[in-house]
């Protein structure tokens, strides 16, 4: 089914950003535009989600050229789910940053770039063309570079150098992979590639090509031997930015892996083993890192790495149940990780620091905020019945069916370390009496009440969304069920894209 | 009878190719950065020549468009390097 609405989420963000650029240096206008644009984006995304959930896959041939000749946009359930989640995160971050960010940063283009970033994410999720995907990846990384460096503090820039170098390296691998893929098939349309790749005689070459994508997306999603950029940089930007990064950026890598491995390079035994090894080591690496960090954002950064491993393991097992687990985890992770970094920002506002050793006493001072935070933190840990629990059930189930005991061990270790560090964090940050030290400043208390509300509101909204995911897991399970069915059998996707020719 | 095409292929283009390699030796050797910059400029100029001959040989005038761009803006690089060299001395 062809539908012009597919591009609406992209264009909403694009025009929001352009109009904001036209209102350069008018930060108040930009704030209104940002929240308004995000809200419209959210509604549009929700509508698109509903249409796809009820009506099946939608496609759009840009410039009216039939696939595979033009660039096609495809809204299958995976795409629209991610678009929806991104929109929710966007809305929350938009509100948060409108009060939680220094005006200086807004003066120099924070909002337009933020919306460009979201646009890039939407594009990446919706495009059906592999080179177009590359372009969105570039939109994403360049805007993330800018957001990461915005403000130009020393640590920020130091982190940004590493972040940038390795992300560009990832793009290089991705681009090389695309070149080779074009070389062996002569096509760039992913659905078309899915068919043509089967006609390639030289099977070894397909394996080689897939490696480029594994490495490229592996760097993006921060998996074991390729993850270094993430803990080097995620603790440096302002929290609103870190929230967008932490919640969304690595997930694009996961999305891309899901897409190419389900459509183009159906994982063979080697790929599965490779991904599984990567998954296990990623979990352990992230867990180890999280254990020793006392800065909460550094800790969160390592937790991101750790949990990426969970999802990679799901992809490695590549079965319907495993993918349900991976996708569910993806959904949960986007909500929770975004919120965690917002929380880190809130804590910073409250106490002026993010070092656990210097923090304390939040529970007695701000019990209601603490309660919201607790929901998020325990969702992250996967305390049942909160959202992080459900995907693990799928993952454990499939891991036992496939006898992946190392992965099971890693899942247990990863979950345990998450539990431990989060509990430790709770104890240090919320329970402990604040250590008497100078330089501790509460930036939150002097805020006018409406700002306080606007700052906590997004955290609360996201926490509600997380609670929904946890308590009404059945709905999410249904969605993931459809998604993983579509991923395991891409014929519906291919028909939707290429079948238009016969209409 | 030697055709003009063959003459271009086997005499003119080799001469140009050898020239450009000779210039590169200067670029490689330096010794000063300005020598390298001049060598670079010369390489581009010879490149315009090569493109011209190539466009004659392949009977494709569109390549001359590339030559125009080269001719118009190559010296900007030289100007920039000159700027650099003078500025660097300043500091």
């Amino acid at each position: 089914m062809i539908d012009n609405h597919i591009l609406a989420p992209i264009f909403v963000q694009l025009f929001t950003a352009i109009i904001q650029l036209m209102c350069w240096r008018k930060t108040l206008t930009q704030r209104y535009l940002s929240v308004g644009g995000s809200l419209i984006g959210l509604m549009v995304a929700f509508r698109l989600f509903n249409r796809v959930y009820e009506g099946g896959i939608l496609t759009l041939n840009a410039a009216n050229w039939d696939a595979p000749f033009g660039i096609v946009f495809v809204a299958d359930l995976l795409s629209v789910t991610l678009v929806l989640l991104t929109s929710i995160a966007c809305f929350a971050v938009s509100i948060f940053s409108s009060v939680g960010l220094s005006r200086q940063r807004m003066l120099y283009g924070y909002f337009p770039i933020f919306h460009f970033l979201i646009m890039g994410l939407h594009g990446a999720f919706l495009t059906g063309d592999i080179f177009n995907l590359y372009v969105y990846f570039e939109v994403i990384i360049i805007s993330s570079f800018v957001l990461m460096t915005l403000g130009g503090r020393k640590a920020q820039l130091e982190g940004a150098v590493k972040y940038m170098a390795m992300n560009i390296l990832a793009s290089m691998f991705f681009l090389t992979g695309i070149g080779i893929l074009y070389g062996i098939t002569g096509s760039l349309n992913m659905a078309d590639l899915s068919i043509r790749i089967q006609e390639v005689q030289n099977k070894a070459l397909i394996g080689i090509t897939s490696c480029f994508f594994i490495i490229g997306f592996g760097i993006k999603s921060a998996v074991f031997p390729l993850y270094y950029w993430l803990p080097s940089s995620y603790h440096t930007p302002p929290s609103a930015v870190a929230a967008t990064f932490g919640g969304l950026l690595t997930k694009v890598g996961i999305y891309a892996m899901l897409r190419v491995f389900s459509l183009i390079f159906i994982p063979d035994d080697f790929t599965r083993i490779l991904l599984m090894v990567i998954a296990v080591l990623t979990i352990l690496t992230g867990a180890f890192g999280a254990l020793i960090k006392t800065n909460i954002r550094r800790l969160f950064s390592y937790l991101i790495v750790c949990h990426i491993g969970f999802m990679i393991g799901g992809i490695a097992m590549f079965s319907k149940v495993a993918l349900m687990g991976a996708v569910f985890y993806l959904i949960h992770d986007i909500m929770v990780k975004t919120n965690m970094f917002l929380i880190a920002g809130l804590i910073r506002q409250l106490r002026g620091t993010m070092d656990m050793n210097k923090l304390g006493g939040l529970y007695s001072e701000y019990p209601k905020i603490s309660l919201i935070v607790a929901i998020v933190l325990f969702s992250l840990v996967g305390i049942p019945p909160l959202s992080g629990f459900w995907p693990k059930v799928f993952l454990f189930q499939e891991a036992f069916s496939q006898h992946q005991y190392f992965y099971i061990a890693a899942l247990i270790i990863g979950s345990f370390v998450t539990l431990y560090v989060i509990a430790k964090m709770w104890s240090e940050v919320f329970w402990k009496n604040p250590p008497a030290s100078e330089g501790m400043e509460n930036l939150f208390a002097p805020m006018p009440p409406y700002k306080k509300i606007l700052m906590v509101l997004p955290i609360g909204l996201m926490a509600l969304a997380t609670l929904y995911i946890g308590l009404n897991a059945e709905a999410i399970v249904k969605v993931t069920d459809i998604i993983s069915t579509q991923l395991m059998d891409p014929s519906a996707y291919i028909d939707a894209v290429l079948g238009n020719k016969t209409d | 009878m030697i055709t003009l095409e063959a003459y271009f292929d086997y005499v003119i283009l080799p001469i140009l190719s050898i020239s450009v390699m000779l210039v590169f030796i200067r670029l490689f050797k330096g010794p000063a950065v300005v020598d390298r910059v001049v060598a670079l400029d010369l390489i581009i100029t010879i490149g315009i020549g090569i493109i011209t001959v190539y466009s004659i040989r392949s009977n494709q005038e569109v390549f001359l468009d590339v030559a125009i761009i080269l001719a118009l803006i190559a010296f900007l690089g030289t100007v920039a390097f000159a700027y650099y060299i003078e500025k660097q001395k300043d500091d």
Binding site: - | I12, L42, T45, V53, L64, A67, A82
Partner: protein, 137 residues
């Protein structure tokens, strides 16, 4: 007939370029290299472009060829001047056989200003200004 003209033009052009490249390799100092190369190459490329103008019986091609020659003639001297000046300013040594340097000491070190007459601030021993260099090849 026209083929012979083309052959001659292209040969002269190519040889000019060749001489320019031999020149840039062989000349003993930077200024001589610069001096030798810029014009020879401009001439050589110009001749090749004239060949192209003759070969393509098209107005647009002739226009383009003329335009390229024109641009080269405008820009090449500017480039040479800019880099030559930078070289002199940064003290790129002159060949030992150089017989006179009337530019020596004319620059104002701070402002890069160049006087037309000897100013009273000049100092022939300013270390940064180019000196003939015995070691230059």
């Amino acid at each position: 007939m026209i083929e012979i003209v083309l052959a001659i033009l292209s040969t002269v052009g190519a040889l000019s370029i060749l001489f320019a490249s031999i020149g840039i390799l062989r000349m003993p100092d930077f200024y001589l290299r610069l001096s030798v190369t810029v014009k020879a190459s401009t001439l050589g490329v110009g001749l090749l472009l004239i060949c192209a103008a003759i070969m393509f019986p098209d107005v647009s091609v002739t226009t383009k060829a003329i335009a390229i020659i024109f641009f080269l003639i405008i820009t090449a001297p500017i480039g040479a001047h800019m880099i030559g000046r930078a070289a002199y300013f940064t003290g790129t040594p002159l060949w030992k056989g150089t017989i006179i340097d009337e530019l020596a000491g004319m620059y104002n070190e701070e402002t890069h200003e160049l006087e037309s007459e000897e100013s009273d601030t000049d100092d022939d021993d300013t270390p940064n200004i180019a000196k003939t260099d015995e070691e230059t090849e």
